[in-house]
């Protein structure tokens, strides 16, 4: 089984002395559905932010598709294409008032030609079931719709692994199922999904692997 993302013995202290990671290690393999549980402040978000180079560990190493993470601009561009990161509040991600333009942002950054970008937008929109929202203004969407658009914006970059930080929090059961279905589609295509959540039911019925974070360390 190919390991897509590997966190190896990471230590990270926030400025001000808060210890977020204290020797955290974890492996995410292709085709895996992983749920990461842990109390607020246990370091889940910090761990996720290390996977695509938003944060740089003070000790330890991150590998993506077997390669140690390269923190130069070019290296980060490669890693951010491979590892997609979605955050809890879609309003933090959606920067454009046009749904289609927001989804196109990632593919445009990959330097693809316009036809390819259009194809990617259509593909991601279909996968996230937001095809009929493309012409709508972002601020007219419901929370569940925004969550799916935010996912489409990341999936349009065709990441190998998708890491999602609490994206299911606050969604109604129907919107919730729709988002879980998107994760399943991604896994069916050979991708990996890591979901940081407080939802024990999801850990029980959906996940292949359940990891638990406590005080900056991970137990699988």
């Amino acid at each position: 089984m190919t390991i897509l993302v590997e966190w190896e013995d990471l230590v990270y202290h926030y400025p001000g002395g808060v210890v977020a990671l204290d020797g955290a290690s974890l492996q995410l393999a292709a085709g895996q559905r992983m749920v990461l549980l842990g109390r607020n402040g246990s370091g889940k978000s910090t761990l996720l932010r290390h996977a695509n180079g938003l944060l740089r560990p003070q000790r330890g190493r991150v590998r993506v598709a077997g390669q140690p993470l390269d923190y130069a601009r070019a290296g980060l561009n490669v890693v951010r294409r491979q590892v997609g990161l979605v955050f809890q509040n879609p309003d933090d991600q959606l920067f454009s008032a046009s749904v289609a333009q927001d989804i196109s942002f990632g593919p445009m950054n990959l330097g693809l030609d316009l036809d390819e970008v259009r194809a990617r937008v259509a593909e991601a929109a279909q996968m996230c079931d937001v095809g009929d929202l493309l012409e709508r203004p972002t601020h007219a969407l419901s929370m569940g719709q925004k969550a799916r658009v935010a996912l489409a914006g990341v999936l349009a970059m065709r990441p190998l692994a998708l890491l999602a930080d609490e994206v299911l929090a606050g969604l109604d059961p129907w919107a919730y199922e729709q988002v879980v279905a998107i994760f399943d589609r991604l896994v069916a295509q050979g991708g990996a999904v890591l979901l940081a959540t407080h939802d024990l039911r999801l850990a029980e019925r959906w996940a292949d692997v359940v990891a638990v974070m406590e005080q900056g360390r991970v137990r699988v």
Partner: protein, 256 residues
């Protein structure tokens, strides 16, 4: 603002190239200012209302209401041009009313001057109304990008416009939370609560900008917000109609 936004997204010419809609509005606006005659302005208002209702299929009531609201503002602010105050023993020329030692007066020339001002401003307003009621801001930003506006300005406009809606929502949430705890029970508390709200909103905007930065970085942000340009349709006869409009405005000026 949200009413404007709604019509901008739901009108019959939403898909028409913003260059075409913007071009028509801009020409009408420029002619109002350059030819500067009440007849031209009146005719231009007619054209813009006609295009908004006939071409964009906007409800006439909405378009007229917007213009009437602006007209009221304009009338209030040109009052000082039409009327003048003076004091002293001699009655000013024109029509005058004496209140104590004050004279409130007006004259045909002053009225004419005020009329020209109102007409010019209202004509311009009608042209801009047509544009903003038929064109969402994203399309205007798209147009500015095609016109090679500096990227920094484009990005700022994109983010500001989006932030308006996000921050309005936060504002409303915080206000309701304060209200629920009797934050506005008397004028004094209301003042304090508003002050708190404003400072919290600043902090919230700052935090939000950090989270936005992270999520943009995650999607491979390269320093500018590059997005897919929209595709639009062109109405050939709208250009012809525009030419007729220009001719009619110029003719109206020449005959006076």
């Amino acid at each position: 603002m949200q009413v404007i936004d709604r019509y901008a997204y739901a009108n019959a010419i939403r898909q028409v190239d913003p260059a075409q809609k913007g071009g028509l509005a801009l020409v009408a606006l420029l002619l109002c200012l350059l030819l500067d005659h009440p007849l031209v302005s009146g005719l231009s208002i007619g054209w813009m209302l006609g295009l908004a209702v006939g071409w964009a299929r906007l409800p006439g009531r909405v378009v007229v209401q917007a213009l009437v609201a602006q007209a009221l503002f304009l009338l209030a602010s040109t009052l000082s041009v039409a009327l003048s105050l003076s004091w002293g023993g001699v009655a000013p020329r024109g029509w005058a009313v004496q209140i104590g030692s004050l004279w409130l007066s007006s004259s045909p020339a002053a009225l004419q001057h005020a009329l020209v001002l109102v007409a010019r401003a209202l004509g311009s307003a009608a042209a801009l109304n047509f544009l903003i009621l038929t064109t969402p801001l994203v399309d205007l930003i798209d147009l500015l990008r095609r016109l090679r506006t500096p990227e920094v300005l484009i990005d700022l406009m994109t983010l500001t416009y989006r932030a308006i809606f996000v921050l309005l929502e936060s504002l409303e949430r915080m206000r309701v939370a304060q209200e629920a705890r009797l934050g506005y029970c008397n004028p004094h508390r209301a003042m304090q609560s508003s002050a708190l709200l404003i400072s919290q909103l600043f902090i919230e905007s700052y935090r939000r900008s950090q989270r936005l930065q992270e999520s943009l970085e995650s999607r491979g942000f390269q320093g500018t917000l590059r997005v897919l340009p929209n595709t639009y349709r062109h109405d050939v006869w709208a250009w012809r109609l525009g030419a007729v409009m220009v001719a009619s405005l110029v003719l109206a000026r020449l005959t006076r």
